[in-house]
């Protein structure tokens, strides 16, 4: 017993000593540490890994980008938030709209990219990409990955319900919905479980169709939010059973099983339409799919606007060492090079705030989505992106309360407003 005790205590001591001797990096080599969610099963992972490998090889001995794999999104956010709060932000990281981007940009903890963008690098990015995210004309959080949300529908199900086109108005949409339901199919997948993602997207489409371009101008007080809630509640009559407790897995499962007519998600999902694994009787899901535009709402202010978001921002921590700052910029420029981004988009199906010529091999559905997106006269953010994080954490609770009749449409909006006010 005594021996064991001594052994354990000695071991503990050794550990604390060993731990103190953290190995220093190789001489002269600048290490950029990059906790990244574009790893693992993420569709952007393979090409990013290739780029980093090539970059490291090109700069062997002087710069090395070290990726820290982060696959669990929520844990990644927790970690980034904690590191930034404690003043030890990683050299480079990926943020999304669940962070308070404005506050981050104002904090001065991130590298000011404006001088580099003004030098010509900025010309690589799409026009106006930075407008919504710069503070006092300075860009420190770089919008990088884009997403657009357009409904994709299963033409076979529409045909079975007697429809050869996708409706142009929501009035027509609900007529079609009745036909699809009568034919024994679900119209769309809604979910109030998990983060309420699909319902959040449908709500955004409705908010756009009803409130138009400037719907976010006066926060949630715009009557469009109440009206859209009414329609969203109606949509729950056309989804599968148990949508209130459903999560992304349920929505995706129904769509893959081809019992649901319309699917709404970002462009990263397109790759799944082409997977052999998801083919039925040798027919790829992509072969029976078409891309639709958001219908217009009678009496609404929408004019065919597009719901988008910034799916990923790149943010670099402020550096004291100019050499390190230069290295980080070099890497950022490297991965935002239009030709590379074109390849990246091709391999992943993702979209970027970089001007690039799409590869002719781009998947057909991706091309169609881009076409629809380019036709849109204006864009608005999805509701999660347009409001503070408190909105998105409260959204599933508010939707389930709405659909279960715990609150009315006004109560739904009030509940979200209350959550925002509290934060």
């Amino acid at each position: 017993m005594k021996k064991l005790f001594a052994l354990v205590l000695a071991l503990a001591l050794c550990f604390s000593l060993a731990a103190l001797a953290v190995p220093a990096s190789a001489d002269g080599e600048i290490v950029i540490n990059f906790p990244s969610i574009w790893v693992g099963t993420d569709s952007k992972a393979p090409y990013l890994a290739e780029m980093i490998e090539a970059f490291n090889a090109e700069n062997a001995g002087s710069i090395k980008v070290v990726v820290e794999d982060q696959t669990d999104y929520q844990a990644y956010r927790d970690k980034i938030r904690t590191t930034i709060t404690t003043g030890s932000a990683p050299d480079l990281c990926i943020l999304d709209t669940t962070f308070d981007i404005k506050a981050f940009a104002e904090s001065g903890k991130f590298m000011d990219l404006t001088p580099y963008l003004d030098e010509g690098w900025g010309a690589n990015f799409t026009d106006g990409a930075f407008d919504a995210w710069s503070v006092d004309g300075k860009v420190s959080i770089l919008p990088f990955e884009a997403a657009v949300f357009t409904p994709i529908y299963n033409t076979e199900i529409l045909k079975a319900a007697g429809w050869d086109h996708f409706p142009a108005t929501y009035t027509e949409f609900f007529q079609m919905a009745d036909d699809i339901k009568a034919a024994g199919f679900n119209v769309m997948g809604q979910m109030a479980g998990e983060n309420g993602w699909s319902s959040m997207l449908w709500y955004s489409l409705l908010v756009e169709a009803i409130g138009g371009k400037d719907v976010y101008a006066d926060g949630l007080s715009n009557p469009a939010f109440v009206e859209a809630a009414k329609v969203l509640k109606e949509m729950y009559n056309y989804t599968f059973d148990g949508a209130i407790s459903a999560g992304a897995g349920d929505v995706n499962g129904h769509w893959l099983n081809r019992d649901t007519a319309i699917y709404l998600n970002g462009p990263w999902w397109i790759a799944n339409l082409y997977k052999e694994e998801n083919a039925v009787d040798g027919v790829l899901l992509a072969d029976v799919c078409e891309v639709a535009t958001n219908p217009s709402y009678e009496g609404g202010k929408g004019e065919g606007g597009l719901v988008t978001t910034v799916q990923g921002f790149l943010a670099a921590a402020k550096q004291d060492d100019p050499a390190k700052e230069a290295a980080v910029i070099k890497f950022l420029k490297y991965i935002s090079e239009p030709e590379r981004v074109s390849q990246w988009a091709l391999s992943s199906g993702a979209m970027f705030f970089v001007k690039y010529t799409p590869s002719p091999e781009t998947r057909l559905i991706s091309q169609k989505v881009t076409e629809v997106a380019n036709k849109a006269p204006y864009t608005i953010l999805h509701v999660n992106g347009a409001f503070p994080t408190a909105f998105s954490t409260e959204f599933p609770a508010a939707v389930s309360a709405l659909v279960l009749g715990e609150v009315d449409e006004q109560g739904f909006v009030d509940q979200l407003q209350l959550a925002i006010d509290m934060a």
């Binding site: 709060t85 962070f99 506050a103 104002e106 999560g247 349920d250 994080t389 599933p396």
Partner: protein
Amino acid sequence: MKLIRSDRKALFAFMAPAILVMILFFVIPVIYVIVVSFLKWNGISAPAFNNLKNYALLMKDKSFSRSVINNIIWALVAGFIQVPLAMVMAIILSRKPKGWKFFRTVYFFPQVISGIALATLWRAIYNAEHGMLNGLLRAVGLGAAAKDWLGTIQTAFPAVLIYWVFYIGYYMVIMMADITTIDTSYYEAATIDGATDFQQAIYITIPLIKKTSLLTCVTLASVMGLRQFEQVYMLTNGQPANTTSTIVLYMYKKMQNANYGIASASAVILILVGVIFIICIRKLFEGRGDRPPVVKSVRRAVK
């Protein structure tokens, strides 16, 4: 035992590591949490003193009071339904029926299975369309009762609670280990007196484990109930309409919103509720002092 002078140094040396760890990892961090609970702070900008406003906001927030109530129910169910169930099984298995070793091992399995897997399984069981529970109901002709168990206000919280009540393995193992240390002569004497297994359990086993493993398990289970987070987070995320929320889940969401002030205030309230709970449990177990007759007589004989 009295403390001898020479023991003082030894005592100090023995307490030192634990005290050091407690100060570093609990006292300082909790002071930090208490301080932050009086601030308005998003983790990035400069914090501002917010007086008692965070606490006032919590008191007004219905979803927070719902979380507190849920946690109290959870702790009570854990301490007074789950643990007694575990105790019954511990008593049964310690009588060594056929295959008891196998069962003892099997009952422990859920403790080592990742929470993600358990949550997905139970979501599938409670699912409205192809869920097993609805399937069973339909099979026995109760199809009318089939529903979206996790998406209905009345059933969601009970559903989250009930599935988990029957995972008793951990507490059962603790109590079984305790029961095996009971002197067999008690049982032998009782058997000679003609006491049945049931009577032996009531008059020998339970009184003898009451102040040790039973108290431990009740406290442990209640604390786990109060700290409940992972299962709810993965099973329902607090929905529908925040009716299955718990304090830690509530706190976690406030942290996601970068509202560290309110998050910390809810953590402080959780600690307060917990301390009250632990004190009550101790009082409850200290309350009844008398030992039942069988034990008394056996004890006298042993002494």
